[in-house]
């Protein structure tokens, strides 16, 4: 029975010229989005890699220099590309991609690619995955509704059921065929994207993205078919379905963002103010302070000398490092507080997932591509860890090889070649797993709900005939 129903639905779909035209147009749009995404990603990645290599070679080839001076000259690091950046850039275009690392300061990443994309559409964008989730999801829901409501609209439901069709087979066939039709439209783009994948775990991420995207499409096709079967006879049925989708995919996420910001406010000014207030209490490598005096006293005691000139190490360099250690701890604490506030905001933002599967899928897609907010935080944290490691190495080298007040002492040029280039750890999809669970759970919950709605719709069909 199921096979017959599927065969019937496939035949009807094939004969529907309008549907086929929409599917072909959608497939072309997705394919163009993949090709355009690969082009943009290649250009950006090449430029950043070139710049990173240039910066590193300049560092390695620098002339003899005082290590702390070298720390002040600093170095730039460039955000590595996300594993699926060509098809899923996530939130990264709106975040700084370059960080200037220097002594004493934790600078925020700057130069966000979106800062020059003035008219870049934020309503879906042109990259493959967001386009598939938004436009493909809408298409699956819409066609699902129209196919689900077909018999009710024409008043032939009793006729169809009268020839012995089972509600479950009919409903399953409709959902499966719609899913297959919309899914087929995505296949050329999926293939093109798969051919452009890097090595590493990009393949695993891509497979997960493809799987969850298809589940999302199936969920919306199922909801559409169920809605068509339930509301097919009502004139406003389709309007209700379309409006509910638009509200869930476009309106509620923005409302949730706005409410989250108002409920748990956080401003850069407040973060900076708390950090500055704490800085004033600690050692300062370039100014006098009570903390400096305490540090000097403790260092003299540690080395058992009375004057800093008698120290076997350079007190200035140790003070610089004490400044780094203290400021690092302050920043860790204050940034952790800010991150906790952002996490609360993100939890509130997830309220939008309750109104439809698409917001959860969009979040999940960015996370699978390691292009979500946490990926940016990881880049920021990895850059800071790299900065601290380098700065400590520079300060201790100066401390151990020069005397207090000897600011003219220089490290040899070849010593700087021992500093490795910035290479943040590339997380595997398994490492990202905890962040994927909420989105996956929400998507699965919606899939289960869609299946339940289909089952209820099938039962209703059977009951309608019996009645």
């Amino acid at each position: 029975m199921l096979n017959q129903a599927i065969s019937l639905e496939l035949t009807l779909a094939r004969r529907d010229v309008g549907l086929m035209l929409v599917v072909v147009l959608f497939a072309l749009t997705l394919l163009v989005s993949v090709i355009s995404g690969i082009g943009a990603d290649t250009a950006e990645t090449r430029a950043f890699e070139t710049a990173a290599a240039r910066v590193q070679s300049e560092w390695v080839d620098q002339p003899p220099k005082n290590p702390h001076e070298a720390a002040h000259y600093g170095i730039l690091i460039y955000r590595p590309r996300a594993p699926l950046q060509a098809i899923e850039p996530g939130v990264l275009p709106w975040q700084g991609a370059v960080t200037f690392l220097e002594a004493h300061k934790r600078n925020l990443p700057m130069l966000s690619p979106a800062s020059v994309r003035n008219a870049d559409s934020r309503y879906g964008g042109t990259r493959f995955s967001p386009l598939l989730q938004l436009a493909g999801g809408f298409l699956a829901l819409l066609i699902g509704y129209l196919v689900g409501a077909r018999e009710a609209r024409r008043g032939i439901t009793p006729l169809v059921m009268g020839i012995g069709a089972k509600g479950s087979a009919l409903v399953s066939a409709k959902a499966l065929v719609i899913f297959a039709v919309v899914g087929c439209a995505a296949i050329p783009a999926f293939v093109a994207a798969a051919l452009s994948l890097d090595t590493g775990d990009a393949g695993a991420r891509f497979a997960l993205l493809a799987g969850t995207s298809l589940l999302h499409l199936f969920t919306l096709a199922g909801i559409g078919v169920a809605a068509g079967l339930w509301l097919g006879a009502a004139r406003a049925g389709l309007a209700i379905v379309v409006l509910t989708w638009a509200a869930s995919a476009i309106v509620f996420p923005r409302v949730a963002d706005s409410l989250a910001e108002r409920a748990v406010p956080l401003t850069q000014k407040s973060i900076n103010a708390s950090i500055s207030a704490d800085f004033a209490k600690g050692p300062d490598g370039h100014a006098e302070s009570e903390a400096n005096a305490r540090f000097e006293k403790a260092t003299l005691a540690r080395y058992g000398v009375a004057k800093k000139e008698d120290l076997p190490v350079n007190l200035d360099a140790l003070l610089m490092q004490a400044d780094e250690d203290y400021r690092g701890a302050v920043q860790d604490r204050r940034i952790a507080e800010a991150d906790a506030v952002r996490a609360r905001q993100d939890q509130l933002r997830a309220l939008a997932w309750a109104f439809g599967p698409t917001p959860a899928m969009l979040d999940l897609s960015a996370r699978i591509g390691s292009a979500d907010a946490s990926a940016q935080y990881r880049f920021d944290a990895a850059g800071e860890a790299y900065r601290r490691e380098r700065t400590a190495k520079l300060n201790y080298h100066m401390a151990e090889n020069s005397k207090t007040g000897d600011w003219d002492w220089k490290a040899e040029s070849d010593w700087y070649a021992k500093f490795p280039a910035f290479a943040p750890p590339q997380l595997k999809v398994a490492d990202d797993w905890p962040g994927l669970v909420p989105g996956l759970a929400a998507l699965l919950a919606w899939a289960v709900l869609a299946a339940a709605l289909l089952a209820l719709a099938a039962r209703r069909l059977d009951q309608t005939v019996r009645a």
Partner: protein, 480 residues
């Protein structure tokens, strides 16, 4: 007849729960958009306040030193003999020192209608600290002072512009998707015809009543927005309302054209939904992506890398003299070999020359990037009108003062102000002069001249949308 049909439609609307819920949700979302936009305006101003505080604090410290010098209570450090030990008290009379410690704020005020539209203000700079020796500070000239949670940035802020662009069309689709199919499917079209009501009259009435209701809400939300943000520029407000009106008219016309195509309720709803997705979700991105040149941000990233290279190379002793000579000849038209000894102060001049070189290199990169962006903008102005949601959005962002061109103008002004500031210091250095209190007090302040309402992107979009609306209306309301 129209009057009777209006009364009939009003009665139908009063009884429709879908219409009631839609209007209520629309109004509620509109007011939330006003609150959200106003909240951003406040945060934007707060970020600028922080910059002002930094500049005022620095100024307060310098004033204290000037007072101390006058009373003899403070003895500034001599830069030539300072060995790194003891408290360093900057000498505001020394131009090399004053150039660094005399910090001035450059603040881009909130756009006249910021809050109605957020535009690029979340992504670019709103304030900057300027001094005679900017260096690393200049590298951040395009960076936002207030950072938003990354998770919220991609979706875009719910402001009045998002409400008008995205949510009002949804309201129109809900109220107008079955503008004529209802009567046809219920079999009451002949009844209406018997009282002399024609289909164009029925459609015109529906458009007038339902489109009018959404227009009233859009205007009401906009006016509440003006009041909440304290807008006081009548011309911009008028342009905002004009574009809003034409945009609502456009979507009303689309709904009426769909209704006139004699599709059934389902076909009409499906077509309307498809048009919504195509015009608002897909088309703007495709137009923008196909016009955008590659290498906009990359140029700046590479410029940063170049600057680091210049700085490091200049750490080499033999390179320092070369840099000083090159910079002196190129930018100051001076040969340091024959310049007064007082101007050629070893370490200070090295730093100053290097910074001048970096300034020029980075300013040039920023200006180059800005000119590329301006070309991109011009292309979008040429073609953006093809998609009303893109063209109207760009137009309204410009009217609100949240467009990237205004941000670029600010960045250019900061660079110019910095150059003037630096040249003032440089002249004193090269003349072997010293600043006095009066010159310190007379330090020019950053001035921002609000540009006239930019209409390059506004009128083509508004006119194209109006023409499209009229064409759709003439199709929808053509005689039977």
């Amino acid at each position: 007849m129209i009057g009777r049909l209006v009364r009939l439609d009003a009665a139908l609307l009063r009884r429709s729960r879908l219409a009631f819920v839609t209007l209520l949700l629309l109004l509620g979302t509109g007011l939330l958009a006003v609150a959200s936009g106003a909240d951003w305006r406040q945060r934007y101003a707060g970020a600028a306040d922080a910059t002002l505080d930094t500049a005022l604090k620095a100024r307060g410290e310098l004033v204290g030193i000037w007072d101390g010098i006058a009373s003899g209570a403070v003895r500034p450090t001599d830069d030539n003999s300072y060995d790194g030990n003891g408290v360093y008290v900057p000498d505001p009379r020394d131009p090399y020192v004053a150039g660094f410690y005399n910090k001035q704020s450059a603040v881009l005020p909130a756009g006249p209608l910021l809050g109605m539209a957020t535009g690029s203000t979340e992504l670019r700079a709103s304030s900057h600290i300027v001094n005679g020796n900017p260096l690393a500070g200049l590298m951040r000239v395009g960076e936002p002072a207030e950072r938003v949670n990354p998770g919220a940035l991609a979706a875009g802020r719910l402001d009045v512009l998002a409400f008008v662009l995205l949510i009002c069309p949804l309201g129109l689709l809900a109220l107008l998707f079955d503008a004529s199919a209802r009567e046809r499917e219920d079999g009451i079209a002949p009844l209406l015809a018997s009282i002399g009501a024609t289909r164009p009259q029925l459609l015109a009435t529906r458009g007038l009543v339902r489109g009018g209701l959404i227009w009233v809400i859009a205007v009401l939300v906009s006016v509440v927005g003006f009041l909440v943000i304290g807008a006081d520029d009548p011309r911009r407000m008028a342009l905002w309302l004009l574009a809003t009106t034409i945009y609502v008219l456009f979507w009303t016309a689309i709904c009426l054209a769909i209704a006139a195509s004699r599709l059934g309720s389902v076909g009409a709803a499906a077509t309307a939904g498809g048009i919504f997705v195509a015009l608002l979700l897909v088309a703007p991105g495709i137009i923008e992506r196909s016009l955008r040149p590659d290498g906009l941000i990359e140029a700046r990233a590479l410029a940063d890398a170049d600057l680091r290279a210049i700085m490091r190379r200049n750490g080499a002793p033999e390179a320092v003299d070369q840099t000083i000579d090159a910079v002196g000849k190129r930018y100051w038209q001076i040969d340091f070999a024959s310049a007064p000894a007082c101007a050629r102060r070893a370490g200070a001049l090295k730093d100053y020359s290097l910074r001048r070189l970096l300034d020029e290199s980075y300013s040039s990169a920023i200006r180059d990037g800005a000119s590329r962006e301006a070309l991109f903008d011009a292309k979008l102005d040429d073609w953006g009108w093809l998609v009303p949601s893109l063209g109207i959005r760009r137009g309204l962002e410009a009217v609100a003062g949240a467009d990237p061109a205004r941000q670029r103008g600010f960045e250019a002004s900061v660079i110019d102000y910095h150059a003037d500031f630096r040249d003032r210091v440089t002249r004193t250095i090269l003349a072997c002069g010293r600043f006095d209190r009066a010159e310190f007090e007379a330090t020019p302040k950053f001035q921002w001249a609000e540009p006239a309402v930019p209409t390059a992107s506004f009128w083509p979009a508004v006119i194209a949308t109006l023409v499209a609306s009229l064409a759709l209306l003439s199709f929808a309301l053509r005689p039977e």
